[in-house]
């Protein structure tokens, strides 16, 4: 069978194109994976902040019933210490 030069050329081009597809696919998947990991990390930080905020709010509510928890809230800076000078409000 005679080998057609055109057929050979087309096959070479197709092979190169297929290899390029593999490389580009790998690059895209790697970038997308890294991006997703960063987004998850950012979301977790924000979620934890929200969660701790809600916990602090509930603990503040609880402190109205049981002031024994006040030292913990004061140590965390959630509740101002009793007797502490109020912040200047510019007046």
């Amino acid at each position: 069978m005679k080998k057609s030069p055109m057929l050979t050329t087309l096959l070479v081009v197709l092979t190169i194109s297929a290899l390029a597809s593999v490389v580009l696919c790998y690059r895209y998947l790697a970038a997308a994976r890294e991006l997703r990991q960063l987004q998850v990390q950012a979301a977790m930080v924000n979620q934890n902040r929200t969660l701790i905020g809600a916990l602090a709010t509930e603990t503040m509510e609880y402190s109205k019933k049981n002031p024994a928890i006040d030292p913990i809230l004061e140590a965390a800076g959630i509740k101002p210490k009793l007797g502490a000078a109020p912040k200047a409000n510019g007046k």
Partner: protein, 141 residues
């Protein structure tokens, strides 16, 4: 006797016609093959362009987001996480001494077992080391 010597002109013409048919079929198949390869090259090229564009977009997003998230996580781990862990630990200790506070402790998943000694911070407090799973869902009031 050799068979070829017995072939009459009619048979010879028939063989020649079959050969021509085969040649035509081969040429047709070759054209079809070339057309298919060209089609595949076009499809593959289109896919390459799409992947290239997606890859560039993803990398641009990555370059834009990575420093911010890295800084945010580093700040969180350096400044917030110790304070939060200390706060949570104190709340757990407080909950063990004051049973009326335990519902709040349990609601936020601060303890693994009721009355147990294994205390844990809320899941995912440390984003750099935490699993990908979301923190324990807070039940609605």
């Amino acid at each position: 006797m050799d068979n070829s010597e017995n072939q009459n002109p009619t048979e010879s013409r028939s063989d020649s016609s079959d050969l021509n048919d085969l040649r035509l079929e081969t040429a047709g198949l070759r054209q079809l093959l070339i057309s298919l390869i060209i089609l595949m090259i076009v499809l593959s090229g289109t896919l390459n362009l799409y992947l290239l564009r997606q890859s560039r977009t993803a990398r641009a997003d990555l370059v834009a987001i990575k420093p911010q998230v890295t800084q945010m996580v580093a700040d969180y781990n350096k400044m917030n996480a110790p304070v939060i862990n200390d706060f949570v630990q104190k709340l757990v200790d407080f909950g063990q001494k004051h049973p009326d506070f335990m519902p709040i402790v349990q609601k936020y998943g601060l303890v693994r077992a009721i009355g147990g000694t294994n205390t844990v911070a809320p899941q995912g407090l440390n984003p750099a080391t935490a699993p990908v799973t979301a923190p324990a869902p807070v039940p609605k009031k």
